[in-house]
């Protein structure tokens, strides 16, 4: 177990290291590079040079890279160009706000999608299955931001049931009830996307399991159909589902770019777009790295979860079924 974990973590470190290089090179490949961005416009060349020196931008790229990675390792995500604020302090509250939004949407969609998908696997091509399939198609083909705009138009502007945007109404900051009302529309938008893929996945996973020999064995034993589905099949079908959920964990911190923009939600996604438009490269780099680390951790968690739910997979031993 530990040996396997160490190997997986080592692999993850390599992946993250590669991501830092790619991100760094990408930023420095920009026309003009970050130098121009970081320096105040309208300066004389001499002052510019002096300022570049102060920021360490005159050094060769490898040196700059090492300095940046060295900072990352010490938990220093750098500073914003414009106001020279520490990125670390700016990023965490935004991660939290995104987490509230995405976490709710994730929970709602899991609670709906997985039982529904499982039910549909037992009644393939029935009315419920067809409805679910229709919703899946919509979920995959609908631009989420458009769905958000439509909901805003109908439920906020026309019916005035829910607030149009933001996280809290003015003067109600920190109130749970107010937060809930603000969550309804964006959570609906985000859930549709999750719902589409989780439902499809749960159904497919169940169908595959229901086709296995051991299900036939259970029926040959005289197990009632309800128990065949919920006892024998479900536990096996949940294994890949849980893995998928684990892999999706990182979306919880960074996956709501569009919805946050539609609903003016003060989280990571909206901040990222703002920073991209104002070309705050160091913030973009920091967010990319933080998200990548989350992805890698999510994958690792998924692997560990997998070994917990599936007795066949003993981490460290070969021969287990792979995802």
């Amino acid at each position: 177990m530990t040996e396997y974990l160490i190997r997986r973590i080592a692999q993850s470190v390599v992946v993250i290291f590669l991501i830092t290089i790619v991100t760094f090179l990408l930023i420095h490949a920009a026309p003009g590079g970050p130098t121009q961005m970081m320096l105040s416009p309208g300066l004389t060349p001499e002052v510019m040079e002096q300022q570049a020196k102060n920021l360490g931008l005159d050094k060769p790229l490898p040196v700059q890279y090492l300095k940046w990675v060295g900072g990352l390792l010490q938990g220093d995500l750098g500073y914003t160009f414009k106001n020279h604020l520490p990125i670390g302090e700016l990023i965490w509250p935004r991660i939290g706000k995104t987490f509230i939004l995405m976490g709710s949407a994730w929970l709602v969609s899991i609670l709906i999608a997985i039982p529904w998908g499982i039910y549909n696997s037992t009644k393939v091509y029935g009315l419920s299955d067809q409805t679910a399939s229709f919703i899946s198609y919509l979920g995959f083909a609908m631009p989420t931001f458009w769905f958000g705009i439509m909901l805003q138009q109908y439920f906020s502007l026309k019916l005035d049931w829910f607030p149009l945007s933001d996280m809290y109404s003015r003067g109600h900051e920190g109130e749970i009830g107010d937060l809930f009302m603000h969550l309804v529309l964006p959570v609906t938008v985000l859930s549709l996307g999750f719902l589409a893929s989780y439902m499809k996945y749960a159904r497919a996973s169940m169908l595959e399991v229901l086709d296995q020999d051991y299900i036939r064995t259970a029926r040959a034993k005289g197990v009632v159909e309800r128990k065949v589905v919920f006892r024998h099949a479900l536990r096996n079908a949940l294994i890949p589902i849980i893995t998928l959920l684990g892999m999706d964990l990182p979306i919880l911190v960074g996956g709501a770019v569009l919805t946050e923009n539609v609903f003016n939600w003060p989280g990571m996604g909206r901040w990222y777009v703002e920073m991209a438009i104002s070309r705050e490269y160091s913030v973009l780099m920091a967010i990319t790295i933080v998200t990548a680390v989350m992805v890698v951790i999510g994958n690792l968690l998924a692997d560990i979860l997998y070994s917990v739910v599936d007795p066949r997979v003993k981490l460290g031993k070969q021969g287990g079924k792979t995802a």
Binding site: Y137, M142, T144, K158, V273
Partner: protein, 336 residues
């Protein structure tokens, strides 16, 4: 062996005449006219054309392609022409079919010209992804070893970066030009094709005919591109079709965020971005472009699924599956 395409419908239509279909099909006598078996493309089309969703998707997509090409003939208006005197007109009020937006631009004309951008980006991204993914997957799967390891690590890294984040980053750094958008969308979506082609090659590489080709001195590149890639072509097509929809959605998202298509050019995503600001004045403005995206992406996805189902011998259309169920109930001796 004869492949009887009318098997199901033939058997089903004779349902009312009694248990006739119970009789096993006789093997056609040897002296009957030997027809050449239809090629894979013909088979594919036959199955595809029997799927109403897939055919519907194809018709819708063709419709959008045609109106995109004929846009100048279908509307007298220039989609970029600003006419502040006639801003925010409702649909049908004047000879502006769907009215005008906040700058007095004709909404119908903008929708038509936007179709050009969306389809252009959708298809170019899919094409570029197929090229990148096939080459990398092919090399990786054919040569294996460290080449494979390196490429697969790259695939891992690329898949670890949230696509939309990377797209935004690149568009912000390099500037919002269509060529950059196509490039970055392709660079962030080739991985699935690479995995698919690699997997296919790992299997095919061991096949006899590859050995045979090698033995008669066919070069590695010839084997990859002439022999193996052709074998992987059907799954690639399915994947690429679904990618068209994804690219159209990504384009609209980037344009909506202000990091994609810029005025005076027009795109459905950009139209939505404008429309959201004027939601209170004209709620309908946001409806049209979104519907266009939805319908086109749905159409493309239906086509992709249709091809996939036509390729998969286990898949049958929903309709025929239902008929089989009904049929089963009619003939089965015991109740369930």
């Amino acid at each position: 062996m004869s492949i009887d395409n009318t098997g199901l419908s033939g058997a089903l239509s004779s349902q009312s005449t009694g248990p006739a279909p119970l009789d096993p099909k006789p093997v056609p006598p040897a002296d009957s006219v030997v027809k050449r078996p239809p090629g894979p493309w013909v088979m594919l089309w036959k199955k595809f054309s029997r799927n109403p969703f897939a055919m519907g998707g194809l018709i819708v997509l063709l419709f959008f392609i045609i109106i995109a090409f004929l846009a100048p003939l279908l509307t007298p208006y220039d989609p970029a022409a600003i006419d502040l005197m006639n801003a925010n007109l409702g649909p049908g009020a004047t000879d502006h079919l769907l009215g005008t937006d906040e700058l007095g631009r004709d909404i119908f004309a903008r929708l038509l010209y936007s179709a050009r951008i969306s389809l252009l980006i959708g298809f170019s991204v899919a094409l570029a992804s197929v090229v990148i993914g096939s080459v990398i997957g092919a090399i990786s799967g054919y040569f294996g070893g460290w080449v494979d390891t390196v490429f697969m690590r790259i695939v891992d890294v690329m898949s670890s970066v949230p696509t939309l984040f990377l797209n935004i980053l690149v568009m912000a750094i390099f500037g919002t030009q269509i060529k950059y958008m196509i490039l970055i969308l392709a660079l962030t979506s080739w991985m699935s094709i690479a995995r698919l082609v690699r997997g296919n090659f790992l299997q095919l590489r061991e096949m006899q005919y590859v050995e045979a080709a090698k033995a008669i001195g066919v070069s590695n590149w010839d084997i990859i591109f002439r022999h193996l890639l052709r074998n992987a072509s059907f799954p690639i097509i399915v994947n690429a079709t679904l990618m068209v929809g994804g690219a159209i959605l990504s384009e609209s998202a980037l344009s909506y965020l202000g990091l994609g298509i810029q005025a005076p050019a027009t795109s459905w995503g950009l139209m939505l971005s404008n429309a959201q600001e004027f939601m209170l004045i004209d709620p309908l403005q946001a409806l049209y472009p979104g519907l266009c995206i939805l319908v086109v992406v749905l159409a493309v996805n239906f086509i992709g699924d249709g091809i996939r189902d036509a390729l998969d011998p286990r898949q049958q259309g929903i309709k025929s599956r239902r008929r089989l169920d009904k049929w089963r109930k009619t003939y089965s001796k015991s109740e369930n």
